[in-house]
């Protein structure tokens, strides 16, 4: 057997049992990537030489009984805002079309050290914000459940490649929901860890007080396997927390019995009315948690609009600081969507930014108070199933609200998992959020939900 299995956990078992060589897995991933590229545009480039070299090294370790762990020999790919040595890292932008870093980003290095095999660089929204755009050097990624539909963003290529079974995992980054949003629209799992637990060295920034790197995969268990080697202090990243890396694997099967789950219904019922399928997904998840022994109750936070106001202003001011010089000198090299959003960002004053940061602190206090009553919060991840690519608002995030900002502002861990299917067989997702540094509990709850609900087993036909 050489076809790529559905999950990292299964791939690891088969590699450890010597049923299959990592070289076979990687060849299968590369072949599927090439076959689906004309439909999905998930990749900006494949790196077959590097991939096969790494796969052969993994195969040698396999034969020597010296595997480095569950990621050894597993094909993955990286969002193209994570730098890769000797391989262009473009942020999906004309501005960086010829940017070739000298060193891998910390997350790329850590997965490589764990034996994961990089097969290529993945599409993103331009500089992790402006998309879907059709005026860039590369087209936007498309949703494997229906290629006429949006993947969500900005970790668009990662979501598409994982959902389509091209790779078993990939990196995403989440500033205002860029892991959890596409995970919802593409029917996979996507984890935003606690801010400061995963190094951002070598990651092209969007808004540094919010940017978080995390894993995307088919399941919460795979997210845990991918997250574990990313955890740990990195003095090269000023936001990296100097504390022991938490263990997110050993308690994964612990279940949710006895936990208190708060359901944030007002997010999707009152603040941002969602489709019936999304509402049904949240109710379904609440019922599953209750059936598994959790205590499920209503939870309440400030209105979503308050989180969006603070989140958008913080992100805007920081993004403008990142892009200010290029906006003055290379304005027309940006795609239209991003450059027009960045013009709006330039209207935000220092006083607006500080007022937004103060509001952020107040909102975080409200979340912290809610989390004294609840161990976990459950809410929708996106207000609807994936829209047609042409129907995404140009100024999304300011013309429309999103459901993911609250946990970016607070820095707490949150995961999206698939919770059902709606219109046209398109997936819907729910978010499960935990207290800061309780990433293991979030993954444990998501794993329990998936085991009982089973939605993660459904795959797009491609």
């Amino acid at each position: 057997m050489s076809a790529l299995p559905g999950t990292i956990a299964e791939a690891a078992r088969r590699i450890a049992a010597r049923e299959v060589s990592p070289v076979e897995f990687v060849r299968a991933a590369l072949a599927r990537a090439e076959a689906l590229q004309p439909v999905l545009h998930a990749f900006l480039r494949l790196t077959p030489e590097r991939a096969l070299e790494e796969a052969r090294a993994a195969e040698a370790r396999q034969m020597a009984g010296a595997l480095r762990g569950p990621l050894d020999g597993v094909p993955v790919a990286h969002k193209d805002i994570l730098e890769t040595a000797g391989i262009p890292t473009t942020a999906h932008s004309r501005l960086l079309e010829h940017h070739v870093p000298r060193r891998d980003a910390a997350a790329v290095e850590r997965w490589a050290a764990a034996g994961a095999v990089t097969i290529g660089k993945l599409a993103t929204h331009e500089f992790a914000w402006g998309g879907p755009s059709f005026d860039l050097p590369w087209p936007p990624a498309r949703n494997p459940w229906d290629p006429s539909r949006f993947t969500g963003g900005s970790s668009s290529g990662t979501a598409a490649a994982v959902a389509a079974g091209i790779v078993l995992g990939g990196t995403g980054s989440d500033t205002g929901g860029s892991i959890r949003g596409p995970a919802a629209l593409c029917g996979i799992a996507g984890m935003k860890p606690t801010f400061g637990l995963v190094s951002r060295r070598g990651v092209i920034p969007l808004a540094p007080s919010l940017d978080t790197v995390g894993p995307m995969a088919r399941t919460a268990e795979d997210c845990a396997l991918l997250l574990q080697p990313l955890l740990g202090h990195d003095p090269a990243d000023p936001s990296s927390l100097d504390r022991p890396a938490p263990d997110v694997l050993s308690g994964l099967a612990g279940g949710v019995a006895g936990l208190r789950v708060g359901v944030l219904r007002h997010f999707h019922e009152r603040d941002l009315p969602a489709t019936g399928a999304v509402a049904a997904g949240v109710e379904h998840a609440a019922e599953v948690f209750a059936s598994l022994g959790a205590t499920v109750r209503e939870a309440e936070l400030p209105a979503l609009s308050a989180f969006n106001a603070a989140g958008w202003l913080v992100m805007a001011a920081e993004a403008f600081a990142v892009h200010e010089a290029w906006l003055r000198t290379r304005f027309r090299d940006y795609g239209e969507i991003l450059r027009e959003r960045l013009v709006l960002c330039g209207l935000v004053s220092a006083a607006d930014y500080l007022a937004a940061q103060r509001r952020r602190r107040e909102l975080n206090a409200a979340i912290a108070a809610a989390m004294q009553e609840h161990d976990l919060l459950l809410c929708a991840a996106a207000p609807a199933e994936a829209p047609p690519l042409g129907a995404v608002p140009r100024f999304a995030g300011i013309e429309t609200l999103n459901l993911t900002y609250p946990f970016n502002l607070s820095g707490q861990p949150a995961i999206t998992v698939c919770a059902g299917f709606g219109e046209g067989g398109l997936p819907v997702g729910v978010q499960i959020a935990g207290r800061p540094f309780e990433d293991a509990l979030v993954l444990r709850a998501a794993h329990a939900f998936e085991g009982a609900a089973g939605w993660h087993r459904r795959r797009p036909v491609m």
Partner: protein, 64 residues
């Protein structure tokens, strides 16, 4: 749609940012500034003068 930023103020801020827009771009972007102004109003509140300026952000572990 909330009222957009007045044209003169918008033009001034865009110029200050060092960005040159076509008239069509300027109108399209100014058209959504009402949402931006609503966000700006939303984050302002009466706070004590000594309120913590919140320029430093760090998640807090439960129990610490």
């Amino acid at each position: 749609m909330p009222d957009p930023m007045p044209e003169e103020e918008f033009a001034l801020l865009v110029t200050r940012a060092g960005i040159r827009l076509t008239a069509e771009e300027a109108e399209r972007i100014r058209g959504v500034t009402g949402h931006l102004l609503a966000y700006m109003r939303s984050v302002r509140a009466d706070r004590p003068l000594d309120a913590e300026p919140a320029t430093i952000f760090r998640p807090v572990e439960p129990g610490r």
